[in-house]
Symmetry: C3
């Protein structure tokens, strides 16, 4: 299997679980993920304060349905967990269709699809179903059952850390709170897992975060506030597997190093770069003004821009192995650049150093076809005043980033540069 | 009558008066204006120092003409005050056409129009007339009479103040020194007066200034130098009623708040925005390097760009009620934005605050059609770091300014923002 | 003779000399140049340290050839000094063509041209010849002779200083190390010499530098390090006489005053402006990060961009009198602007000063055809806050630089401006 196919298989395996911002569906998801990358799982008790928020009660659900009086299930949680509004309180009642109607959510414009709805912070209950199904439901009475619990418990999230040569961190974050939705965000989870597996002895410490959206990110930030200044860069992964081209959403800063890295990596592909906006995924929290981290977000088609978004149409068929593969490749290229990007200071800044006596320069003068390697050394020496990173130098010179890194390595080995 | 027609009637009423940088024509103008908005009138004695300048002697004129020896007036002040060069010294003489000629000003390229000329600071006298009239004047002798006085007196200007909730000020300035010229600047005076009448309980204190050009503005600045730091914004109104589209000339700073406000208001209309230049009207003085105030200038067709400029062609027919109305509307929109524009600080900057528990956020999650009101709150929270005004946020987000203001009001009421 | 023809004659006169980074060819070149402009010649001993470099041994050559066994010279130094690789060590041997081959340099793509090659810092020897000639050389034995010396001696460079009214300096630098190559850089040397002759009582002190490339510039910088902060601007002249249009390469700063001056001068001509890059001529050294001087480089077709570059094709025929003339004119215009460019402070910054009472302003008001001279005064007064130079003001206002200078002179004479 290609990596894309392996990631797709992980998406399919995770798809049936009923995730939410808390509950056993998240735990089961992390248990499976732990087979791919070792995870540290954190359980945060209900009632814990997190800045302006409080960890809510834990929600679990065993079964739910709307059945006709003959006992035939018209809407059945066992077929798809999207049928129940997330965080629905328990129900066990017989009621008329008219009584039921305020609790039913459909998509009249997409009558065959089941929408995804939640009600985390306002107690209530509801069902989601296809408009086509609703249209077939005769008036009369129905047995309505939601076998859920809402009790003090925990919010569950997980970290996977790849230690680096420095303690400065890069965070890769993806939300784990969506139930049977494949692109949003099992695709992101799968890419993150395979990205974590591919990192070998990196420079930075990479912290992969698998957390419920909003409350999870805010809880994590709250519990890690005293060391958040270690987080130098980050990427939120979401909607990572559909057939659209890649879209990078810049950090709030707009000129963070990660923004330059993604622009560099994407420039030779079909892609889109969009400015930061304060909605979407957990970049909202990482880029809130009090943190203002250098965290961007990588998606294929962005949230709410594809018709299958937050519907039963976002199933594993909507996610392509080739697209997962492409997203993974771009992430790997981006981290590979980020990880090698340095800002040096030229230790011999008065005129050029004599590269020839160090064996770094061709001995025959007068030729007009100076090689990339030599040009790269001159560029690195000239621009290394503590203000320009190697990526800046690559972009300014038009030379490949790898040539610039190689030049810097040679110059550093010759003690002509320091960080 | 529409507001445009009312403003036009005011222009017609003021048109016949012989204004100059001093004199009774200015006083009569302010007396009429006082019927529309209460004015505080200031009289500054001849000889008063104002920075590098000195208030000149006061000029008044009762009559003036060039008559043939039969007593027939060929050029007659009673027909138009443009016929006399402003600040002409008294004359009572018989002279030949050849002797008279150095004192005659015409527009050979526009032979039917009378030019407007002044000689404030170099004693002398002269007449302005149509080239066509001059061409008909036979050689021979003429009786030449200018019944003017140039004596110690006063320079007269007026203020109308609309008190605000804060003492920070916005100045709206227009020059009152031009005699029978309608667009330049009775149109500006009329728009200013109606703009003043339309302000209700504003945030800023608005100070409307009716002053002679250059010496008036310099005198006002000189007398108010110790509180000029209260002036946060300003607009010079001139040439406000011709049929051309609106032209905004930026402040010397080029990025003052008033510049952004006008750009925002004008963007959906045919308009032109031009960079600051050190000629035109009293923005020259407000934007001199020692003050460098955030004062721009709003005109329709800018000075010296229309053939009727500074000629008898600039009469009330050249000013359109609809154009006056349009200028007034844009001024009102601009002040309405300026007055509500604030720069806030998010009091809960670490992650998003929980809007739901404050009733500020929809309870049902998962929908992709988030409403403007909610987006606006997220934008305001995210950008309110003391660096971005509500107008900045409106432009960045693409949301209407009024939505952004409403969001900020709601957030401030919820104690999530402070100024 | 036109100046262009005179400069061309100088190029022809210098052409036959065998220059290198050291040696009598350089001395003879400077001796001839001294007939045009008085030079101070500096001799720096072999072994002298210059930052990371050491002045090398001095190289001189009397004769060199490859002869067939009949004594017929196939490759002859006396025909062109390009035939010997610069800094070749002495040779006196009979060897087969196969043994000789590793020491032969040709241009297979340009078979009739002789390349220019050097080996300054790696001991060795070699010949350069046309591929066409090599193709005609039968196998067999050849007498190979290089009658050169490589001994402790000196590196030679020269300065010509035009004293200014201030001790702040402008350096004009050109490399003197290339043997029989005309455009690169006898053209630059000739333009520099005639430029020096044309300077009359300048504001700045102008220092013309005639030095071998790289080691010469580094040696000069090393010996003048303690007063390098006097160098405010500079220009490297190279490839100054070919038929291409002018190319200006910006300083490393990219917004140095010299960059603005050249952009201004070139804007009405066919030209190209390129960003700084750390190869080319001695701008590499002046713009190394430790100095980062405001030094740009003016060429016609830049180095390595024309097929004759560093070949026997770069001979006096390749250099046009008209092109030398054009380069000289642009240099003169540039220095004329640089030399008059000042940044003033308005001494009467509160409102406009009353120009009329100083005789600087027309007495008749109301005219719409204000003259350049008056506009220029208003621009200079408004912009003179210590932040904008006269060139900035000329560009911002669209007025000719000379009008702006004249206005500033008048205002300074009226004590309205100070530097």
């Amino acid at each position: 299997m290609t990596p894309g196919e392996q990631m797709h298989a992980l998406v399919e395996r995770l798809y049936p679980l009923c995730r939410s911002i808390t509950g056993d569906g998240v735990r089961d998801t992390l248990k499976i993920l732990n087979e791919y990358i070792p995870l540290a799982v954190f359980e945060v008790p209900t009632g814990t304060s997190a800045f302006d928020w409080t960890v809510p009660q834990e929600w679990n659900i065993r079964d739910a349905y709307i059945a006709d009086t003959s006992g035939k299930r018209i809407v059945d949680f066992r077929e798809s967990n999207l049928h129940v509004v997330g965080y629905s309180t328990p129900v066990n009642a017989r009621m008329t269709l008219d009584e039921l109607r305020p609790h039913l959510h459909t998509l009249p414009e997409q009558p065959s699809l089941v929408p995804y709805r939640t009600s985390y912070y306002a107690p209530g209950w509801g069902f989601c179903l296809a408009q086509d199904v609703l249209d077939q439901m005769p008036d009369g009475e129905y047995d309505v059952r939601i076998d859920s619990t809402l009790d003090d418990g925990h919010l569950t999230y997980a970290e996977h850390v790849v230690p680096g040569q420095v303690t400065d961190e890069v965070i890769i974050s993806c939300h784990t709170c969506h139930p049977s939705l494949a692109n949003d965000n099992l695709a992101g989870i799968a890419v993150a897992a395979y990205l974590a597996r591919s990192l070998e002895k990196p420079w930075y410490t990479y912290r992969f975060l698998f957390m419920p959206g909003t409350i999870g990110a805010i809880t994590w930030l709250s519990r890690n506030a005293d060391r958040i200044d270690k987080v130098k860069h980050g990427l939120v992964l979401a909607c990572a597997g559909d057939s659209g081209h890649l879209t990078y959403k810049k950090s709030r800063r707009g000129n963070a190093e990660i923004d330059g890295v993604l622009r560099h990596v994407l420039r030779d592909r079909e892609h889109e770069i969009v400015d930061f906006s304060p909605y979407g995924y957990d970049e909202r929290q990482f880029c809130s003004p009090g943190f203002n981290l250098g965290v961007g977000s990588l998606s294929r088609t962005p949230y709410a821009r594809y018709p299958e978004y937050h519907t039963s149409g976002d199933n594993p068929d909507f996610v392509l192995p080739s697209a997962l593969d492409d997203t993974l490749t771009v992430c790997q290229e981006a981290l590979s650049i980020l990880d090698r990007n340095r800002t040096y200071v030229n230790l011999n800044p008065y005129g050029e150093p004599q590269l020839g006596k160090r064996g770094l320069y061709g001995s025959l003068g007068g030729r007009s076809d100076a090689k990339d390697a030599q040009l790269a050394m001159l560029w690195v020496l000239n621009q290394s005043d503590g203000e320009h990173s190697l990526l800046d130098i690559a972009e300014r010179s038009g030379l490949p980033f790898s040539s610039v890194v190689a030049a810097a390595d040679a110059l550093r080995d010759a003690e002509l540069l320091k960080v």
